[in-house]
Amino acid sequence: MEDASCCGAGVVQEDNPKLGDALNARTFSLAEEQGLDIVTICSTCQGVMRRAQIKCENDPDYRAELNEDLMEDTGRAYQGTVKVKHFYEMIVEDFGLDNLAGKVTRKLTGLNIAPYYGCYALRPHEFSDVKIPDRPTALEETIEAVGATVVTWPEMQKCCGFPILMANKHNSLHLAGNVVEGAKKQGAACIMTACPLCHLNLDSYQPEIEKTFAMDLNLPILHYPQMLALALGATPEELKLDTHIVQAGNLLENLSSS
């Protein structure tokens, strides 16, 4: 969707909730125009959009109110038919993990991957599509489907700290540090996250986190699509894994020969 706008990232919503919802209703109307559902690679976008979508679903009067202005500003209205999905939900629910496993050309055997859910895919529960949001399985199942090994750890559903990076950097990095340190302690070779913002905080700030909190981290962070791409045969160079702050380019060296 070329004309989709920023979802507001929950930030516009803090300023002006109705405007935030209107922005997303506009995006939904664009998708409807093309007869498509929406998929995003970002948990934050997914969470923010789903919230707008459910608000419209639960309160038709509110949707009508938004539509009145939307019609005037854009000539479109949101009919209430759009589904919003995270990319990993699409893979697991629509594409199918068996299908995926069948297409894997490079099994990630022996690679210990820590699946990181973070927040918005799961919480608040009322806006989550996960059946038991406290016990999600999609990321673990995907890891298994590409032949890698799942590493679980206590912080896998905790916050990465990104949202307060600007407001309180110290706390933000402390949260990120705990997430990375926790995974490392459980023997992870990398963390695989479903959200690029988590990715940003966990990866880009690792050197600073190590310094500030005297943690020994150096743990590569993969984004969900990157992991899939590796398993489907893409090279680390194609994926620009060398642009990560914590080198992820050499992850494939850890694969077992089996």
Binding site: V11, E14, D15, R26, R135, I164, A167, H174, S204, I245
Partner: protein, 323 residues
Amino acid sequence: MKARFLISRFDLQLDTTPRLQEYSVDVPKGSTVLECLNIIKWTQDGTLTFRMSCRSAICGSCAMRLNGHAKLACKTQLSDVLIDGAVTVEPLGNFKVIKDLVVDMEPFWASLKRVKPWLKPDESVEYERERLQSIEGYKKIEDASTCILCASCYSDCNVLSVDERFLGPATLAKAQRFVYDSRDCDAEERLEYLGGANGVWDCTHCAECSTRCPTDAKPLERITELKAASMAHRIHGNNGARHVLAFRESIPGKYPGTGGGMINENYIPLRSVGIFNISGLLDLIPVGLRMFMRGKQPPMMPHYIKKFPEIRKMFSRFKEYLK
């Protein structure tokens, strides 16, 4: 039905760390977790210690962690938390444990007092009757007023786990109840305080609070409302508020190059820190430099979406939408 309970045991006088003790209980169908804990205490082990009182989800005594998440034991059907016939029962997080499932609640009450949680009305007006409040006005504070101070939100708050000075979800929900109360005259001063250190902008919206909240108080929603009120009162002198302003300016492209329907990822941090905040800007350099060296930096100019004028039109309703 047989069920296994893995219960965290700890006695300040005897233990250095908590240990899990397993109990096996024959529980009647339809039992709540609290009823099961009482069966254990009354028939198996009198030393097992937890708080409880009303057992009808209104007093807030029996909050504890079930399978790692805060819940009211009295309000939770055992069958809803059994995993392979077992449930793990632990004290609330983010608190010091006193004994078994009992934690030291003092920091929670102390936090509450920091926001002066009482009505500050206009005392100059003499009333013979009640102050009037519209049904709409009541609705704005109704959700927050359902809080039972059980501290489930405090237990699972991610920020509190790294910073005990954070006001915390319940306290902020309580603050919302006064900021939005049509009878209160102190919103401005309250918002100044809440916008300061350890206040609303320190919330990382992990949504644990709203998810664990057993009532309609849903602290994250209240915190978001406080932020909106804070912005509406033009309390902008902090990074959190400036970050919001950055979005407000970037998406509709208020200044040339700031954005075009999408945010400009270079503008956001600069604007959030404050263009004249030299030390803040210097602080951004190391990560910026590292990303630049790796070729990870975002493009300097924003991506303009084609139907950008629509976004501008929508943002022109900004003030209209605040009413």
